[in-house]
Symmetry: C2
Subunit: 160 residues, 2 copies
């Protein structure tokens, strides 16, 4: 299956229709829910969240910090989906994301891994078609490629 950028964009945007950002309780839960899924299924990665290294899904659910963080990461996913057909804007957003994460000293392999986590979340709480999942992984591959180029250009650890 080969998809155009436009098709990838439209499939990813569509897959987020039931995970809209916003200020209502459901919107907040759409973001918080990502971290409940993340912390439950990838507990080793909690180490990147200072003070929340031992949080359970229930701790996340009650956490205002993860309500806010959930909106931020969900917005980022909406943005990369929506602008995927504008390649230079997409890549500039990737570089800006890397710049803002510099202080967290992340394992550079996690940028690609994120898309396994995120599609897992979408699958866990709603419907994600095989085509939508393939679109997200294709987007993730390009996201990750620009991450590694920019990490290298920034003299930071990167995946060869």
């Amino acid at each position: 299956m080969s998809m155009t950028r436009e098709e990838i964009r439209n499939l990813c945007v569509k897959s987020l229709e039931e995970k809209m950002v916003g200020t209502e309780a459901q919107n907040i839960d759409n973001g918080n829910g990502f971290y409940r899924y993340f912390f439950t299924n990838f507990p080793d990665l909690r180490v990147y969240f200072k003070g929340a290294e031992k949080y359970t899904a229930d701790d996340v659910k009650k956490s205002e910090r993860f309500d806010k963080q959930g909106q931020r990461i969900l917005l980022a996913c909406h943005l990369i989906a929506n602008v995927f057909n504008n390649e230079e804007v997409f890549k500039a957003y990737v570089r800006e994301t890397i710049n803002r994460h510099r202080i967290y000293k992340m394992d550079p392999a996690l940028w690609m891994a994120f898309f396994t986590v995120f599609t897992g979340y979408l699958e866990s709480t709603g419907s994600l078609t095989d085509e939508q999942k393939a679109a997200w992984m294709a987007l993730g591959k390009e996201f990750n490629a620009e991450c590694q180029v920019h990490l290298k250009n920034s003299n930071l650890p990167y995946v060869h």
Copy 2:
């Protein structure tokens, strides 16, 4: 003239084609150029840029800080243009922008004023049609409306 969200989006995106973000010298200059225009035409607002309160356009041109800051603001403009037809994503991006600017204690009237500065920049260095300018001001009006709602909800000074 009344425009749909889709028309506004397309006009704004089109107006940025000659101001693309990126890593080449021209792309960097597209962002730095905004601050050269800004500091020349609105020198009173330099007060928000600690350490650069007395910068001339020439100082900005030689400044790596404003190369980076220029890319960031230009990317933000590309993002708001591209997602304008996805209203909830647009509004979520506005709120995130407000959250990130909280530390600068900005005059809340500056959020609308920004669009006069930005369209002035686009006009000064290229071609901006009357229709594109009207589209940016229509986008700005919605951007500002969500800014003021979110400032109020955040217990921060806002424009009534």
